[in-house]
């Protein structure tokens, strides 16, 4: 009978996986990810790939918003930078896909850091508005810089191959996307065991106090923007190579909002939460569409109102989560675990 998890050594406290159950769960999850593509059909593979890309993007945003406390509404714009850089490099300059993705990540990190400069003077609300401006400015540049981005026309990205198989094949892309999602998660979890990660968290909790303790606010805030944008750019570049087409409509302010919703519903400041949130928000429209299909026999008008139902549900889910479980799915998951651990004396 245990009443909680208590560690008696620093090593145990700092460990990534603290209990046996956690180790078993991670192995099971790993196996599930390995086995899944052999049983899933194309529809489910596509969904899984979308979840993987969204997970990478959500982890990136969470580094900035959840861990460093800098609210960003510029996610869509930063993803556009990643996607367009990767797309242009492989379409116009013939770079191999992996090189284009790496360059795209660094380019996005640079742009992210540049738009992070106002964060030195601004915080909270004002920073949110400044990043909103970043979103609008980036998207405007994308749609008006015809010579490079092709303006409002779609940018066609040539299909690449990996080990002789097409990259945009759902089965092939699955391995790439999930491997990168896993690496991103691992890197991020470890980032917060270093001095950089701890500085980020200190800035989030109280930035002036952090500064008096010797944390260079400007440096670490920019670094947070850069690291966050690096992963966001990765997600954008993956979209470019998966879809083989880049259009500005995919990176509007709605995307920024969607990703914010992911990390809020999943849980701010949590890598696991980012995954939960990404999966939840990505799968929600699919579930609603399928429900609509089932109910169509009884309610024939449902087809025409489907887009509104999806949009409304999205808004409603955000509101309900914020009111009833502000710490998100991650907290729910912990509650469930606690319930079973403390059974039969859980309250």
């Amino acid at each position: 009978m245990q009443s909680g998890i208590f560690h008696s050594t620093y090593k145990a406290d700092m460990a990534l996986r603290r209990t046996h159950a956690e180790k078993i769960r991670i192995v099971l999850l790993f196996l599930a990810i390995l086995i899944f593509p052999f049983f899933a059909n194309r529809y489910y593979l596509t969904l899984a790939n979308q979840v993987a890309i969204a997970t990478i993007g959500a982890i990136g945003l969470n580094i900035l918003v959840g861990f460093t406390g800098q609210i960003s509404l510029g996610q869509g714009g930063f993803m556009a930078v990643g996607a367009y850089t990767a797309g242009i490099l492989s379409a116009r300059m013939g770079l191999p896909w992996y090189a284009s993705i790496v360059v795209a990540c660094f380019a996005t990190a640079l742009v992210g850091a540049a738009f992070g400069i106002p964060s030195l003077r601004l915080k909270g609300l004002y920073l949110a508005i400044a990043t909103l401006a970043a979103q609008e400015i980036i998207l405007w540049v994308v749609t008006h810089w015809d010579a490079v981005t092709g303006g409002v026309d779609a940018l066609v990205v040539p299909n690449s191959t990996i080990f002789g198989r097409p990259l945009n094949d759902d089965f092939v892309f699955y391995w790439l996307a999930w491997a990168l999602a896993g690496i991103t998660a691992l890197l991020t979890v470890n980032l917060f065991r270093t001095r950089f990660g701890r500085a980020f968290v200190a800035i989030r909790d109280q930035d002036i106090a952090a500064e008096t303790m010797g944390i260079n606010l400007f440096k670490y805030k920019l670094l947070s923007f850069a690291i966050s944008s690096f992963f966001v750019g990765l997600a954008g570049a993956l979209i470019a190579h998966y879809r083989n087409i880049v259009t500005w409509e995919r990176f509007t302010i709605d995307v920024s909002v969607t990703y914010l919703a992911m990390i809020i519903i999943g849980g701010l400041g949590s890598v696991r939460g980012s995954f939960f949130g990404a999966a939840f928000i990505t799968l929600l429209p699919a579930v609603i569409t399928n429900l609509g299909r089932v109910l169509k026999a009884q309610f024939p008008f449902i087809d025409s109102v489907m887009p509104f139902i999806q949009q409304g549900t999205f808004g409603l889910v955000i509101i309900l989560f914020l009111i009833f479980e502000p710490e998100g799915l991650n907290k729910m998951w912990r509650n469930i675990k606690d319930y079973f651990r403390l059974w039969p004396f859980s309250y």
């Binding site: 609300l125 609008e136 400015i137 002036i208 919703a261 509104f308 409304g312 808004g315 914020l322």
Partner: protein, 290 residues
């Protein structure tokens, strides 16, 4: 020169409409420290309700306007009670996100009822062209300027001489001190949201009269940000001046340079202002202590 006058007049009217949308925004921020991303949707709902009253139910437009204002009050109170009150004391990001969720929900409801097609609005203010110097401008646009000025006057009056207005300022300054003075903070929040919804509804009706009703109207929610940052988030004269400056800027750039630069320029201005003077032209500078 003719082009200049024309652009100035158009800019002034656009600015007046922006100012109307910004007014409600500032009001909510001033009294409850909440930034309302659903302000554009309030505008949208105002426009559609008056459209429904006048065009679909065939009411006379003064009655329609009255009903719209009542609906706006109800909307403001309901939103404040159900959505914003549980958010008191939550971090900023939660408050921002809840109003974003609200905007998504409201837009979905509006398009579920009225569809996505733009609709012609039965204009209640004639758009007969008026000649001023060598430029022509619709009378409805001049009305927009007039109404914005009237609203500004009313709001200034309200905040200076009305008990509720003074209480609202007290709440904005310090909620605890206001509470101990016997002011009901809850009631003040309800007031603020209703008034914001009313000003958005009137703004919506004016815009609808000029450009027609469509989902595009909610775009005003985003265009308001440069205005309020320029004027200062907590300043009512700031909202008006900021609205007019941004409106003029947009039309001048659109008229003389073009290339869609007018869409992005307000946001560039916004970033510059945030870097130089984050509290805006008329906003209150806040000194932060640990």
């Amino acid at each position: 020169m003719d082009l200049f006058i024309q652009l100035t007049l158009t800019g002034l009217t656009n600015g007046a409409i922006l100012a109307m949308a910004a007014l409600g925004f500032v009001l909510i921020y001033k009294s409850s420290d909440v930034i309302n991303f659903a302000q554009g949707e309030f505008l949208l709902i105002g426009a559609y309700v008056i459209y429904a009253m006048v065009a679909q139910f065939g009411l006379a437009w003064p009655i329609g306007m009255l009903i719209t204002i009542l609906v706006a009050i109800a909307l403001g109170v309901i939103v404040e009670r159900l959505v914003l009150r549980p958010m008191i004391g939550e971090p900023i990001i939660s408050v921002i996100m809840v109003t974003i969720g609200l905007s998504s929900l409201l837009r979905a409801i509006v398009s579920a009822i009225w569809g996505n097609q733009p609709k012609a609005f039965p204009s209640f203010i004639p758009s007969t062209p008026v000649r001023i110097f060598n430029a022509t401008i619709g009378a409805d646009r001049l009305w927009a300027i007039a109404i914005a000025i009237i609203m500004l006057g009313l709001f200034t009056f309200f905040f200076r001489y009305f008990k509720e207005g003074i209480a609202m300022r007290a709440v904005a300054d310090d909620q605890q001190a206001a509470l101990s003075m016997g002011i009901s903070v809850k009631k003040i929040f309800a007031w603020a949201w209703s008034i914001a919804a009313i000003s958005a509804a009137i703004g919506g009706a004016l815009v609808a009269n000029i450009v027609g009703v469509s989902g595009e109207l909610s775009g005003f929610g985003l265009r308001v940000f440069p205005v309020v940052i320029l004027g200062g988030l907590d300043s009512i004269p700031g909202a008006i001046v900021g609205g007019i400056i941004i409106g003029l800027l947009e039309t001048y750039v659109g008229g003389y340079i073009g290339q869609g630069l007018n869409q992005v320029l307000p946001f560039i201005v916004l970033i510059i202002i945030l870097m130089v003077r984050p509290y805006g032209l008329f906003g209150q500078e806040i000194i932060e202590r640990v």
